[in-house]
């Protein structure tokens, strides 16, 4: 079993706001992130897949296939978007780094037939990242 990680970047804006909370509660829980005009990040995404090395090709996965799926399923949907307003998952969910990592996992899991997904690691900042392993 070998693990392979592909890295890519996207830039997006978002805000954190729960309509079930009062204004004051939103400010208390989410701080500056509750500003409804939004703010943005350069996200770094690392997708790790695992599998046996194919004896014919020497690959765990054809990198071009993985890159095409990442571009189509993740980057085209999230890059240079407002996550709250343009990405369907976040119509009802707050686009925290945790929820974005889970949403990316779900998008990839449905389409990634070329390898087994192991981990989605999403950096919001160089000093803050979330790992999701598909655990319930």
């Amino acid at each position: 079993m070998v693990y392979l990680t592909r890295k890519c970047e996207f830039s997006a804006s978002h805000y954190y706001y729960n309509p079930a909370f009062s204004e004051e509660e939103n400010r208390r829980v989410f701080g500056k992130c509750a500003n409804l005009n939004g703010h943005g990040h350069n996200y770094t995404l690392e997708v790790t897949v695992k599998g046996d090395v194919d004896p014919k090709t020497g690959f765990v996965v054809d990198l071009k296939d993985l890159k095409d799926i990442l571009n189509r399923e993740v980057l085209e949907a999230l890059d240079h978007r407002h996550l709250n307003k343009e990405v369907p998952e976040f119509a009802t969910q707050i686009p925290t780094t945790e929820n974005i990592a889970i949403a990316i996992w779900k998008r990839l899991e449905q389409k990634l037939h070329v390898a087994q997904l192991h981990r989605v690691r999403l950096y919001e900042l160089p000093d803050l990242f979330v790992d999701f392993y598909g655990e319930p």
């Binding site: 954190y16 701080g31 945790e98 929820n99 000093d127 803050l128 990242f129 979330v130 999701f132």
Partner: protein, 135 residues
């Protein structure tokens, strides 16, 4: 859904690796340059990983403000810009990064309750790092 969240912090401290039970020659042989009586220092990078269910209300494993406050209060205020050999935690232990990381893990395990402490990772330099999961 369970997610892991990692936050990175920086602190700077000095130390000298020296064991009183060893002779001067043995200390020099074991610890090399790190046994210099005057000590030396590092910029340590600390990565704290916590895990838990992502809250449906907040979308978070835990509030970063709480994690930052706990790490600042319990770890950074204790170990940033100090000589580790003079800290009570190292009165009887050599302040190697192995011992430091276990101390930091145990302090955070005691003091941070909002999420499960999964792992602590400590870089002494860009070339060497240590991980401890409480085993």
């Amino acid at each position: 859904m369970k997610a892991h969240l990692t936050r990175r912090y920086i602190f700077s401290a000095s130390h000298r690796l020296h064991c009183d039970d060893l002779s001067a020659d043995q200390n020099r042989a074991v610890y090399g340059k790190c046994n210099n009586p005057h000590g030396h220092g590092h910029n340590y990078a600390l990565e704290v990983t916590v895990s838990g269910q992502v809250s449906l209300e907040t979308g978070m494993v835990c509030n970063l403000v709480d994690l930052d406050a706990a790490v600042r209060r319990e770890v950074l205020e204790r170990f940033d810009h100090v000589n580790l050999n003079f800290c009570p935690e190292f009165a009887r232990e050599v302040p190697t990064t192995e011992n430091l990381i276990q101390t930091i893990y145990n302090i955070l395990k005691q003091s941070f309750r909002p999420a499960h402490l999964e792992k602590v990772r400590l870089e002494e330099t860009a070339m060497n790092s240590f991980e401890y999961e409480g085993e």
